[in-house]
Structures are given as C-alpha cells and as structure tokens.
C-alpha cells in the first residue's frame, strides 16, 4: 500500500496565529487514519488541508507541501479546486443534509458534476445508500425531506452523499460526536467497511473509537504532531510520554 496523501513540513497561520507547526505525515492508501488530541490542537485544521476547505477562511496562510498521489494540491490551478474536492470527500461533525429530499441529497454531487442521466443517477443513489447501510431504512421514502430522518440516519445520508461521486479519500471530522451510542456503532462499522475502497481520515475525541476503527493514529498537541504510528503501537506502547498521558486520560 502506497502513500495516498502526504504533508511535508506544513505550517498554517490564521492571521498571526500559528495553528499547524511543521506537520509532516503520510496517509497510506485504503486505510483509516485517526487524528486525536485535545480541543483546539489543530485536528480539524489539518483535516481541511486535504480538500482545501481552509482556503474559504479569510487570512489563512499555508506553507509546505500537501501531496495527493504525489501531486502538490496547493500548486494546482484555482479552477481545479472543485475537481480536487470531488476526489476528496468530507463528512462534517454535525449532520448537515440539504433541505431537500433524501434522493436529491445523494444526487447533489452528481448534479454538481453535470450528470443528468436519470437512470444512472437513480442507480448511483441506490448503490451509495446501500453502501452507507441506509437503503433499507429509506427506500420507501426517498422523496421525503432529509430532515425527517434521525440524527444518525442524517449522518449516514451525509456519508452516502459524499460517496456518490466516488471520491478516493474521505475526510471525517468527528462524524459520530453528536450521535447516540447505537448510531455511533453503525458509523464505526461503516468506516470499517469503507476502508476497503477508500482512504479515510477521521478526527475523533473518542479513544476507544480511534482504537477500534483506525490503522494509524496521529496525536496532535498545540499545533504539533507529537506522535504518529500504527494505532496498535500508539495505544499499547506510545513512545512519547505526552501521548501516553493523553490516551490514558491524564490530561486534555
């Protein structure tokens, strides 16, 4: 398995605030990488590097290289950013389906791409809803508003929405933090399933979750990447005392 993504000495500034301090890390293909660390340490900021969502925040400055399949995504033409985002999907912390029907939510990304073939869209919607293990629950009410779904269903809908345009990377920012334990379990199972097809980075505050779903774990603290290794190693035998303190709950 090669490196799908790589950051080389990345610094990010919000105005004067130095939010990411020289982060170098790689993400291997078809694996799940968890980002952990106390609140405000830069996990979400780091995640947003990969689909250039930080670009939308005014006064943001980025140094260093972010490679996707070996190409620096910060050197591409601005007109190619939309293309990048089709390849790198994102699931947000709070479920945020559009105020449209369940069907239209999943179809949105396809329509963005200019796809109009009705039968293709229909097939793709069904396929991704099945992938997101939501199909059985919604197949009879595809025309109903997405807002009629429960929070957990909404989040799986958002995952289906991200999958529909077949990205190769999926970024998840605390995808289960607003959900009940059962919904959380479903999302975790889903992540586990999806890693065969996608490269996944997931931010989480939940240590058990990181331990359960991820292959690699990066521990962030105050904008620094303190430690990055196989999840098994991080959780059984971390090499830095800060990491150990954090995962055993002694701070943060």
């Amino acid at each position: 398995m090669g490196n799908k993504l790589e950051t080389i000495d990345v610094n990010l500034y919000y105005g004067d605030f130095h939010a990411l301090k020289g982060i170098s890390m790689f993400i291997s293909e078809n694996s799940v990488t968890a980002l952990i660390g106390p609140s405000g340490c830069g996990k979400s900021t780091y995640l947003r590097l990969f689909n250039r969502m930080n670009d939308l925040i005014p006064n943001t400055r980025i140094e260093g290289q972010v490679l996707l399949d070996g190409e620096d995504i910060y050197q591409i033409k601005p007109s190619k950013i939309d293309h990048l985002r089709r390849n790198v999907g994102m699931v947000f912390q709070k479920p945020n389906p559009f105020p449209k029907s369940i069907f239209e939510n999943v179809a949105y990304g396809l329509r963005v791409n200019g796809i109009t073939d009705k039968s293709f869209i229909g097939a793709q919607v069904e396929k991704t809803l099945r992938q997101a293990v939501l199909w059985e629950e919604v197949k009879d009410k595809l025309k109903k508003s997405a807002f009629e779904l429960s929070g957990g269903q909404q989040q799986r809908l958002c995952i289906a929405r991200a999958l529909a345009i077949e990205p190769s990377v999926i970024l998840m920012d605390e995808p289960a933090s607003s959900l009940d334990p059962i919904s959380t379990g479903k999302i975790e199972d889903l992540i586990f399933e999806l890693k065969n097809l996608y490269t996944i980075i997931v931010v989480t505050h939940n240590m058990q979750q990181a331990g359960r779903v991820s292959d690699y774990t990066g521990f962030f603290y105050l904008g620094n990447l303190i430690e990055f290794d196989k999840t098994k190693k991080i959780f059984t035998n971390p090499s830095k005392p800060e990491t150990e303190n954090y995962i055993t709950g002694r701070f943060g």
Binding site: D82, R86, N96, P99, S101, Y108, K144, R161
Partner: protein
Amino acid sequence: MTFPESNLRRKKLGQALMFGLARAISYGIVAILLLILFFIVKQGIGVVNWRFLTAMPENGMTQGGIFPAIVGTLYLVAGSMLFAFPVGVMAGIYVNEYAKEGPVKRFVKMMTNNLAGVPSIIFGLFGMALFVNELNFGASILAGSLTLGLLALPIVIRTTEEALKSVDDTFRQASYALGGSKLYTVRKVVLPIALPNILTGLILAVGRVSGETAPILFTVAAYFLPKLPGSVFDQCMALPYHLYVISTSGTQIEASRPMAYGTAFVLVVIVLIVNILATLLRNYFGKKVKMN
C-alpha cells in the same frame, strides 16, 4: 443553595409587569390598526360597487368610478417590481455572497441603508430629472415604475441580504466539499433556502410602493385621463394620487368626499390582497424548500 423568598417574589412581580405591558402595547397596536381599517371600511364600503370599480370617473370626478386609477396602480406596482426585484436580489447576493469583508462592502451597505432613509419626494425629484428629462422617457409609466423601483430597491436588497445571511454556513460548506462552485452553490442551495424570506422583502416593497404618492407626482401620475394607457410611455392615473387629488384640489372637494373614501377603501384592500397572496406564496415555498 437557598434564595431569599422576597427576592423571588419581586422577580416574579417584575416579570408579570413587563409581560403585561408588552401585551398591552401589542394589543394597542392591533387596536389602532383595526380602528383605521374600520374607519375606512365604514366610510368607503357604501361607495364601492361593481360600477365604481369598473367605470371611468365622471362629472369632474365626483361620480363614476376609479377604474383607470386601479389599473394604473397595478401597472406601476408590477413595473417597479419588475425592475427592483431582480436588481435588488442580485445586489443582495453580491453583497452577502461575493463581496469580500472590507471598506467597499461596508460602504455599499451604508449607502443602501442611507437610500432607505431618503424621503420619497426626493426620489420623485430625482426620477423626474433622470428618467423624465435626461433619458427623455417623459412623464410615463416607465419613468414612474423606475422611480418607484428605486424607492423599493433598498428594501429588497436588505431583506435579501438578511435572508442569505440567515442561511447556515454548513450548507455552503457541504456544497463546496462536493465540488460545487460558488455560483452553483448559491443557485441550488443558498437561494432556495433563502427564498421564503426574500419574498418577504417583495411583500414589504409592494406594500410600500403601492401607497406612495410623492415619487409618481412628477414622473407619471395624471390628474385625469379619459383613456387607459396604451403603452409604457403613456401617463396613467394611480390610486394614492387620485385620492390626494380629489381630496385636496378641484372645485368640488365636498362632493367628491365619498369617492375619496371609496378610493381609500380600494387601495387598502389591494394592499391587503397583495400581502395575503405574497404570504401564501412564501409559506408555499417555505414548505417546498423543506420537502424538495
């Protein structure tokens, strides 16, 4: 923790007082509105009949109907909205979605607010200078509509801006994250969500425009016309101006008093109908946004 009993009671009393006051004030406002409506209905309803609505004025406007004034007002409202709605919505979209934070945006917003505070007679003078004279439209429906449109513009811009601002940013982010361009996101996500509130701006603007006299005074309104307007370059009569004319000038003010109340009644009813229609429209779209 324990709280002193008297303190709690005083708090409760204070709250009850405030609520009572607030309720009294809102009931008072409703009462005043009803009083105005009652007065106009009482004075006007006896005059209004089918003939009054569909006939031309007769006998120096002491008899007959107000048909041309109704038609004129409808033309002017439609014309001004045809101009103000697209322009205002686009300006609102620009200010809220495209303009970068900074002095330019602040200046544009400040000017919009100032424009909303300009007295309507100034709009009338400006409309006369620009549309009637400079652009040579003459006193015409075109000039009057554009002048009224200018008056409505800040209302439409501001409500559009507010409507867009209230759209949760997470929807925009979700769209961008799927590769949606800015334009696509605005068109397919932001605007549909904001539409019900934007329509509120349209309602407000229609209400404002249909009752204005000063802006049409020099730009379109005619004292009396024997014929309906045939093109946008013709003058027309209008309800508020007609009302003004028959109650202030002319030789038979007393004789035309019933006509004045009838006109007022029709004007109020038209504004009411437009408001109800627009509210229904807004609710319909509000539901559709959720269901779609």
